[in-house]
C-alpha cells in the first residue's frame, strides 16, 4: 500500500467515451470518443465553431459533458492540487507582481511556502522574464503576460498542459517566444494538448492532429499525414481554404 502511495498513477491516458456537450439542444460536441496518451503533442484544428475550445474545457474539467464519460487514468479528487494546467487565449493575471502571480498558483497547489518563491523565479527564468519578476503583471505587454501565464503553468509541473489558442492575439515575435516555451515544456515531459487556428503553428508544434468539424472528431492523424493527405473531405476543404493565407 505504501509503495502505491509513493508513486502516484500517471494522469494519462485520458479517455473520452461518446462525449456529448449540448447547449440549448444544439450539440457543440457530438459523440466524441478519444484517448490521449502521454508523449506526443496533440494539436486540435478545425473551423470556427467546430467545438475545439469546448473540447479542451471538457478535458480540463471546466465543463461537464451532457452525456458520455471523460476519465483520467488517475482520479483527480476535488480539493487536491491539480496535475494539469491550462493556458487561455487571453491570460488572466492577478493585480500583483508577475512573481506573486506564480507564487499564488503554487500556494493554491499547496506547494510548501518555503519552496514557492524559488520555484516561481525559476519558472520566470525559463520563459525569459526574470528581469520583470517584480513588475505588476497586468501592465506587461500581451506577449509578456502570456509568458507569465505559461510560467505559472510550468511552475506547477503539470503532467498535461492544455492551450487554447495561446498566440491568437500576439505578434510573430511574441508567438515565436511562446512556441519556444511550449516546446521546452514538452521536452521536459509535459503532455501538450493545444487548440490553434494557425496551421503553420499546428505543423510546427503538432505531432498528431485532431480535426474537429461541427462538434465531431472527423480525423486523427500524424501531422505529416494530415497536412499531406487529409482523409476526410471536410479536412481537405478546410486545409484548402486556410492554406493560401
Amino acid at each position: 500500500m505504501t509503495s502505491a502511495m509513493r508513486a502516484p498513477r500517471s494522469l494519462l491516458p485520458l479517455r473520452l467515451d461518446d462525449v456529448v456537450f449540448a447547449i440549448g439542444g444544439r450539440r457543440v460536441i457530438d459523440r466524441v470518443s478519444l484517448t490521449l496518451e502521454a508523449g506526443r503533442r496533440t494539436v486540435i484544428v478545425g473551423p470556427n465553431g467546430a467545438g475545439k475550445s469546448v473540447l479542451l474545457r471538457l478535458c480540463h474539467g471546466l465543463l461537464q459533458p451532457t452525456s458520455g464519460t471523460i476519465a483520467w487514468n488517475a482520479l483527480e479528487l476535488p480539493g487536491e492540487p491539480r496535475r494539469q494546467a491550462m493556458v487561455f487565449q487571453r491570460p488572466v493575471l492577478l493585480r500583483r507582481s508577475a512573481l506573486a502571480n506564480i507564487v499564488y498558483a503554487l500556494a493554491v497547489a499547496r506547494v510548501p511556502t518555503e519552496h514557492r518563491e524559488a520555484r516561481a523565479r525559476e519558472a520566470l527564468r525559463k520563459v525569459g522574464l526574470d528581469a520583470l519578476a517584480a513588475h505588476p503583471a497586468r501592465v506587461l505587454s500581451g506577449g509578456e503576460q502570456q509568458r507569465v501565464a505559461l510560467a505559472r503553468a510550468w511552475a506547477l509541473n503539470p503532467e498535461v498542459l492544455f492551450l487554447d489558442e495561446p498566440t491568437a492575439n500576439l505578434d510573430p515575435g511574441a508567438t515565436h517566444e511562446i512556441e519556444r516555451v511550449i516546446g521546452a515544456m514538452h521536452a521536459a515531459g509535459t503532455k501538450i494538448v493545444m487548440v490553434t487556428h494557425n496551421l503553420g503553428q499546428a505543423r510546427r508544434l503538432g505531432d498528431e492532429i485532431l480535426f474537429l468539424h461541427q462538434g465531431r472528431l472527423l480525423e486523427r492523424a500524424s501531422a505529416d499525414r494530415f497536412f499531406k493527405r487529409p482523409a476526410s473531405l471536410e479536412a481537405a476543404q478546410f486545409l484548402e481554404g486556410e492554406l493560401p493565407w
Binding site: 474545457r57 480540463h60 474539467g61 471546466l62 476535488p78 480539493g79 487536491e80 492540487p81 491539480r82 494546467a85 491550462m86 487561455f88 488572466v92 492577478l94 493585480r95 500583483r96 499564488y104 498558483a105 493554491v108 497547489a109 505588476p136 503583471a137 497586468r138 501592465v139 506547477l156
Partner: protein, 234 residues
Amino acid sequence: MSDLSQATAEALRLVAGGDPKLLDIVLLSLRVSLTAVVFACAVGLPLGATVAVSRFPGRRTVVVVLNALMGLPPVVVGLAVYLLLSRAGPLGAMGLLFTPTAMVIAQAILITPIIAALSRQVVEDAWVEYREQLRSLGERRFGAVLTMLWDLRFSLVTIVLAGFGRAAAEVGAVMIVGGNIDGVTRVMTTAIALETSKGDLPLALGLGIVLLTIVLALNAAADIVKDTAQRRYG
C-alpha cells in the same frame, strides 16, 4: 441674508478655532460610523463576493433581496434596533440602548446590505473573466472569494466609502437608538437637527461644513488611491 452670512462666519470661526464641543461631536461621529463600516465590511464584503462566485438554488432571490435592502429606511432600522435593545426587548439586559454601541449596531445593519450588494455586483462582473482561470488552478470557493476581494481591492474602496457616507450622513437611526444625549450619543447629524430646531444656526452650519468636508476629502483620497493603483497595477 445677513442672518445666513453671520451664521456662516460664526460657523467658520467654530471650525477653525477647534471648538471643543464641536470637536467632541465630530470625533464621536467618526468613531461610530467608522466602527460600523468595519463591521459592515467584515460581513458585507465576503457575503457579496460569495454570492457573486456561487451558483445555488434561490440565488436570484438573494440578489434581489440584497439589492432591495440597500434602500432600508434608517428610521425603520432604528426602530427595529430600538425594540431589540429596549429594556423589554430580547437584548435589553445588555443595557445598550442610548449608547454609542447601539448606534454602531444600527448603522452597521443599515450599510451591510449596501456593501454586500455593491460588492456582489463588482465581483460578479469580474468573475466572468477570472472564473475559468481560478478553477483551472484548482481554487475552491473560499479561496476564490478572498482572491477576488483582494484583486478588486481598488474598486471596492469606493463601495466601502459609499457605506461610510451613508452611515455618517444618516440621522433617523442614530436619533432613535442613541437618543442624541449631549456628550454621550450626540453625533453630527443629530446635533445639526437639534441645533437647527433650537435656532443655533452657527453650530449646525459648522457641523454641516465639517460633515461635507470629511465626506469630500475621503472621496478625493479614495479617488487618488484608485487612480494611482490602477495605473500601477492595471
